[in-house]
């Protein structure tokens, strides 16, 4: 339960950073971090196939395209939060959290799901290769963002 709470808190905090950050580039990076945390919660419940799908599609493919788009269309960062709308959102969050607390949810059975021969040695190797590729992509995108920042500093 402690690990689940830590992962859920990290996911919520990184999504909060998405809201509060001024720069779209960092917002997309933290969005990818949120998706990784959501996928890790799946892995925590032994649902590795879904973890692989979310990480490869939402972080590896779409996340990278979003980060690249944010890095391409980069302009002067400005605060993008509507404080007027924050109040109804906080009230809704409070009502939802209270209703979950008051509902006294019945415990469910243990999650028992396994794909037949999902993790074979070849498949594991493929997963390691694809993960390395995703990390490499992430590093190159980060480098692209830092390069832009350096150029901006030289100009000013």
């Amino acid at each position: 339960m402690l690990l689940l709470s830590a992962l859920a808190c990290t996911a919520v905090l990184s999504s909060l950073v998405v809201l509060l950050t001024r720069d779209n580039f960092y917002a997309s990076m933290f969005m990818s971090a949120t998706m990784i945390m959501v996928a890790t919660i799946y892995a925590l419940f032994d649902l590795q196939p879904v973890f692989v799908l979310i990480v490869f599609i939402f972080v590896g493919a779409l996340g990278m395209v979003t980060v690249a788009l944010a890095a391409t269309y980069r302009f002067a960062p400005e605060r993008q939060i509507s404080w007027l709308w924050a109040l109804p959102v906080v009230i809704t969050a409070f009502i939802l959290a209270f209703s979950v607390y008051a509902a006294q949810l019945a415990p469910l059975g243990k999650i028992q799901f396994a794909l037949q021969r999902f993790i074979t040695s070849e498949y594991l190797l493929l997963i390691i290769f694809l993960t390395s590729l995703t990390v490499l992509l992430l590093l190159s995108v980060l480098k692209m963002g830092l390069k832009y920042k350096d150029n901006e500093g030289e100009e000013s």
Binding site: M1, L4, S5, A8, C9, A11, V12, S15, L16, V18, L19, N24, A27, S28, M31, T34, M35, V38, A39, I41, Y42, F45, L47, P49, V50, L53, I54, I57, F58, A61, L62, G63, V65, T66, L69, A70, Y73, E78, Q80, I81, S82, W85, A86, V89, T92, A93, L96, A97, V100, Y101, Q104, L105, A106, P107, L108, G109, K110, I111, Q112, F113
Partner: protein
Amino acid sequence: MHATDISIIYVASFAILLIGYLTAISSKDVIRLLISLELMFGAVFMSLIPLFSAISNAAFGIAILTIFTSSGELLVLIYAIIMLDRQKKNIYTSSVTIGGDR
């Protein structure tokens, strides 16, 4: 799966969903809108976890369907962002006020 675990998952998923809504409402450019949509889909995936406890095979099918449908939808939005930039020469949400009138 304990009731506390289910509560943590639901509360976190609602929180991410609401943050996604707030990001979408306050976004000034379409890239922030794309990021907020991805956050909302993340919240939806998170709320699917308890379903695996009751009907695991059907839940896996639903998860696959959701992942591919949402990723297709996001790809269409990415294409729309590029088209918007080509036509309007900017990506601000304020320039998408005309709709289908013109």
